[in-house]
Amino acid sequence: MESGAVHTQQQEEEKQKQQKEEEEEEKRKQQKEEEEEEEEEHFHVLAVDDSFIDRKLLERLLKESSYQVTLVDSGDKALEYLGLLDSIDNVNATSSSQSPQQECIYGEIRPGLGTDIFTGMKVNLIMTDYCMPGMSGYDLLKRVKGSYWKDVPVVIMSSENIPSRIRMCLEEGAEEFLLKPLQLSDVEKLQTHLLKSPEKYSSIRIDDSSFNTESSSNITVSSKSNIASKRKALSPEIEERRPKLKGLAVV
C-alpha cells in the first residue's frame, strides 16, 4: 500500500513538473513571437561611426524615423555583428540558441536578403562613416558586398565632400553617399533604399519561379509578405550589383 502511494505521488509530481515546463515553453514561444513581430514592424539599421557624438545623433535621427538601431563604433565591430569575422567566438547579437560552430559551417551558403536564417536577425540598412580608424567605411562596404549580406543597402556618410571618394563608394555598391552632419530629411529619404526582407525564410527558394529577372514589378516571394523592391539584384541569378552612378549622391 505504501509503495503504491509513493508511486502515485511521484507520478503526480512528474506530471506537475511537466505541465509547468510546457507552460513556460508556451510563454517563451509567445514572447518570441511577439518580439519577432515587433522586429518585423520596424526596419533595423546597423550604424557604424567612431564618433561618439555622431552615434548619439544618428541614434536619435533613426529612432525619430521609427527605425530599430544597432550602433557600433568600428568596422570590425560591424563585421562581428554581422557574423563576418573569422573568429569562431563571435556570436550575433540576437542569436538565440545557435552554436557558433553551426554558424561557421553554414556561413557561406546563407542567402542574402538581409536576414540571417539561423538567428532570424535582419538588417535592412547599414550606415557607415567613411573615415574611421582601422577599417574605413569603404573597406566595410567592400566586405559587406562580398558577403551573404550583399543585398543589404549600404549608405556611406562623410564630413568631406570629395567627388572621387563619392564615385568610388558608389561604384563599389554604396546605395547613397550622405554629407555630415546628417539631417532628419536625409534619414527620411533613406526609406526608399531600405531592404524589405521577407518575414519567413522558408518561403524563399532559389528555384522559386517568382524570381523573375525580367519582371519589373514587385517580386512577391511569399503569400504573406510583400517585398517591394525595385532592385532586380534580389534574384540570386544576378551576381553583381552595379548601381548606376546617381546624380543625387550628395545631399
Partner: protein
C-alpha cells in the same frame, strides 16, 4: 507673468547666439530632434560634446608640444574634433578647425599653434554661453507646454 519674461529671454538669448555667429543651422537640427520623449536632447548632446571632446583637446595639446610636429596626426585629431563641433552647430569653433587643418596641410606649425589657441578660446566661450542659455531655458520651464486647461 515672469514666465513670459523668461521665455522672451530664452528667445532673445537664443537668437543672439545665432546672430553673433556662435551657432549655425545644425543647432536647429538638434532642436528639431527634441520632443516630449526627449525633452532635454539639445542640452544632453552639448554636454556630451564637451565631455567627449575634452580628450581630443588634450591629445592635440600634447601633440603640439612635441619638438617635431606630426601634421598627419594633428590633422587626424582635428578632423575628429571638427566633426563633433560641426555636429552640434558650433560655427566659430568649426571655422577655426578648418583653418587649423589648412595649416596642418601646409606644415605650418606656428599657424597650428596660434589657431589652436583660438580654438580653445572659442570652445570655452561657446561653453559659457550655452550653459547660460540652458539655464534660462530650464528656468523658463517646458517650452511648448499644452495650453492651460480652459
Amino acid at each position: 507673468m515672469e514666465r513670459t519674461q523668461l521665455r522672451r529671454q530664452v528667445a532673445l538669448t537664443r537668437q543672439s547666439l545665432f546672430d553673433q555667429g556662435f551657432l549655425d543651422e545644425q543647432f536647429i537640427q538638434l532642436e528639431d530632434l527634441q520632443d516630449d520623449a526627449n525633452p532635454n536632447f539639445v542640452e544632453e548632446v552639448v554636454t556630451l560634446y564637451y565631455r567627449d571632446s575634452a580628450r581630443l583637446i588634450t591629445n592635440i595639446e600634447k601633440a603640439l608640444e612635441k619638438n617635431s610636429l606630426d601634421f598627419n596626426k594633428l590633422d587626424g585629431f582635428m578632423h575628429q574634433f571638427k566633426g563633433s563641433s560641426s555636429s552640434i552647430g558650433a560655427k566659430k569653433v568649426k571655422a577655426e578647425c578648418t583653418l587649423f587643418r589648412e595649416y596642418c596641410r601646409a606644415g605650418n606649425g606656428e599657424g597650428c599653434t596660434r589657431t589652436f589657441q583660438q580654438i580653445k578660446k572659442e570652445y570655452a566661450t561657446l561653453k559659457r554661453k550655452l550653459e547660460a542659455y540652458f539655464q534660462v531655458v530650464r528656468q523658463a520651464g517646458p517650452a511648448e507646454t499644452a495650453c492651460w486647461p480652459k
